[in-house]
């Protein structure tokens, strides 16, 4: 699956009071691009679909927490 996360690098000033985050991330979930859902998409098995909250892998959007929390990103 393509990555749904995008990164940008905000300006960092020489006198910023807090240690800067050089990379900021945001999510571009699949519905932004899909348009009409095409018919006969691949499906998760029923139990997995119930757990994920979606029947079609194409519309699944994982979220592991923000990039500034590395321990959370290793969870899945």
């Amino acid at each position: 699956m393509y990555s749904q996360e995008r990164v940008y690098h905000p300006y960092v000033g020489p006198f910023d009071p807090c240690s800067p985050h050089t990379a900021k991330t945001y999510v571009l979930p699949p519905e932004v691009f899909l348009g009409f859902q095409p018919p006969t998409l691949a499906q998760f098995p029923p139990m997995e679909a119930l757990r994920r909250g979606v029947l079609w892998p194409m519309l699944y959007s994982p979220y592991h927490g923000r990039g500034d929390r590395p321990e959370a990103r290793d969870a899945e």
């Binding site: 999510v27 994920r52 909250g53 519309l59």
Partner: protein
């Protein structure tokens, strides 16, 4: 007319005693982009939307109440055994003074829910675009809530709810496409 199933849409398990998280979760309970606002918004807009998408608003509005139940369950579990002192430490002292252990429709900052959070403009595109924005804002709120807890069980339920927002946004976008398509169709009678 509704039929009620006496179970949650998705299991809610809370593994860590964290009354402060209950305060944060209230954003999705009685906040501007919360589940109550979503349910009331869609179930009211549906009367004046083209017939092709009425059912969609009914279905999604109904599901939002199922989500509201889940959030309520989380908040209740996180606060039901908290002492007044623990609630005070979690920033819920003012909540306790006004509501005791009861839940109330207010956001994470304690601002009570208001109908000004929702809109019904009677214009299908204006209303559906508001609905899409509401779903994306709710999705973002769930992301920030997931960021605010280390409880993997709570995160699990929140991830489910976040995915449902993704699907709802997709369906509202399709509803806009349906209304556009009707326009392009060359109908000859």
């Amino acid at each position: 007319m509704w039929k009620y199933e006496k179970k949650l849409q998705y299991p809610v398990r809370v593994s860590r005693c964290d009354p402060y998280m209950a305060k944060l979760l209230l954003e999705q309970y009685g906040g501007a982009d919360g589940e109550l606002a979503a349910a009331l918004r869609y179930l009211n807009q549906r009367y004046t939307i083209p017939p092709k998408v009425i059912g969609l608003l009914t279905d999604i509005g109904t599901e939002e109440f199922a989500h509201l139940e889940m959030i309520a369950t989380m908040v209740y579990k996180l606060t039901k055994d908290a002492t007044a002192e623990a609630l005070r430490a979690a920033g819920l002292g003012d909540h306790y003074v006004n509501h005791g252990h009861a839940l109330f429709y207010q956001n994470a900052s304690g601002v009570p829910w208001t109908a000004t959070y929702i809109q019904a403009k009677g214009d299908p595109i204006a209303d559906l675009y508001e609905d899409i924005a509401a779903e994306e804002k709710a999705r973002a709120t769930y992301q920030w809530l997931i960021d605010m807890t280390d409880d993997v069980d709570l995160q699990d339920s929140l991830k489910f709810l976040r995915e449902r927002e993704v699907i709802h946004a997709q369906r509202f976008r399709e509803a806009v496409e349906i209304l556009k398509e009707d326009q392009e169709k060359k109908k000859f009678y």
